[in-house]
């Protein structure tokens, strides 16, 4: 009986440790993925001459930042996630959507006037 109790306790500590460990590792992993997404998006934003691809790249960077914020807010095992970064992300998503819409409308207008939505390298317009 005592032996069994001890084994259950050992198992419980093990599970506890694993969930704690997992929570920290997983949120760290998500945060790092967010950073990588930010880098990928920034690279494309600078390199790609096509406006729509630039807008897409900007959105990928934004998604990286949101992922980072959400992950970092929930790092502490056994504690509720920090609501402030979550509220920031909620605000950020809405602003990102509206900014994307305006950017796309501008790109459409440029396409209409210039015939292409691609920025050219050397031609002064």
């Amino acid at each position: 009986m005592d032996d069994r109790q001890q084994k259950t306790d050992e198992f419980k500590t093990l599970v506890d440790f694993e969930t704690k460990f997992n929570k920290m590792t997983i949120s760290l992993l998500y945060a790092l993925i967010g950073v990588v997404l930010l880098g990928m998006g920034l690279y494309r934003l600078v390199i790609d001459p096509h406006l729509v691809k630039k807008i897409l790249a900007l959105n990928i960077s934004g998604a990286g930042v949101f992922l980072f914020l959400v992950a970092v807010a929930d790092r502490i095992p056994g504690a509720a996630p920090d609501p402030v970064p979550h509220a920031m992300v909620l605000t950020g998503i809405v602003v990102a959507v509206s900014a994307t819409a305006v950017a796309l409308a501008l790109a459409c207008r440029i396409q209409e006037i210039k015939g292409t939505a691609e920025l050219s390298e050397n031609e002064p317009e």
Binding site: A31, V35, V72, R75, P81, L90, V94, A101, A105, E121
Partner: protein
């Protein structure tokens, strides 16, 4: 003529790109590594913000900490955010394409989907708005769901009547106007800008969120179609 132009373009692009690509890749990689290292070495504790929010949750008028931050503690952010949304809608409308794309025949599937889904969309939207007080949900989630219904409406062959078209500007601005009205009312009542009196906090937040939901739904639909809906 066009072909040679294109070739020239491609050649030029390749020529310019190499050094530029390398430079960009290097600087972006440096930034990523610095940021990644910072994340890796972040201390395993947080500042006092979660405790502050938890300590003041009882005077916020709601029980969901995220809603408390959005509508009460940092209400100013949300007010400006709805302003940004309205600004975006005005910007998109003023850039509306000169040649109007006419959706003469929407596929029958869209109409069937619309008929089946619209009641549920409205119910889910209202539910999300109400539950925001206690659990994840609120004006933005509800507005996004309702906007999905709006997108379905405008992509099917529904023709809006005159009154609906006339009320689009009201729908666009009602969220910001209600928010501002409440903010000014709290000032007149003797408090600060957006400082809700405690017994009224819950009701005021719900009123603001309901108005914001309508605005967000209308604005997101307008952002999707990029012009005024057809009458």
């Amino acid at each position: 003529m066009q072909n040679s132009n294109n070739l020239k373009k491609v050649h030029r692009a390749q020529h310019v790109s190499l050094t530029r690509k390398a430079l960009t890749a290097l600087s972006v990689m440096a930034l990523t590594v610095i940021l990644g290292w910072t994340v890796w070495t972040l201390p395993p504790f947080s500042d006092r913000m979660p405790d502050l929010v938890a300590a003041h949750l009882s005077i916020s008028g709601v029980e969901n900490p995220v809603t408390a931050v959005l509508l009460n503690f940092r209400g100013y952010d949300t007010l400006l955010e709805i302003g940004v949304l309205l600004l975006a809608a005005v910007g998109v409308l003023s850039l509306a394409p000169t040649s109007v794309l006419s959706a003469e025949t929407a596929p029958a599937q869209v109409q069937i989907l619309l008929l089946r889904l619209l009641p549920f969309i409205v119910i889910v939207g209202a539910y999300l708005l109400w539950i925001g007080k206690y659990a994840p949900g609120g004006a933005f989630q509800a507005g996004a769901v309702l906007a999905a219904g709006g997108v379905l409406l405008v992509t099917s062959v529904v023709r809006f009547n005159h009154i609906t078209i006339k009320s689009v500007p009201i729908g666009l601005s009602i969220g910001l106007l209600t928010f501002l009205a409440v903010a000014l009312a709290t000032m007149i009542a003797g408090g600060n800008f957006l400082q809700y009196p405690l017994p009224w906090a819950s009701a005021l937040i719900l009123v603001i969120e309901a108005a914001a939901t309508i605005s967000i739904a209308v604005i997101l639909t307008i952002l999707f179609i990029g012009r005024k809906p057809d009458g």
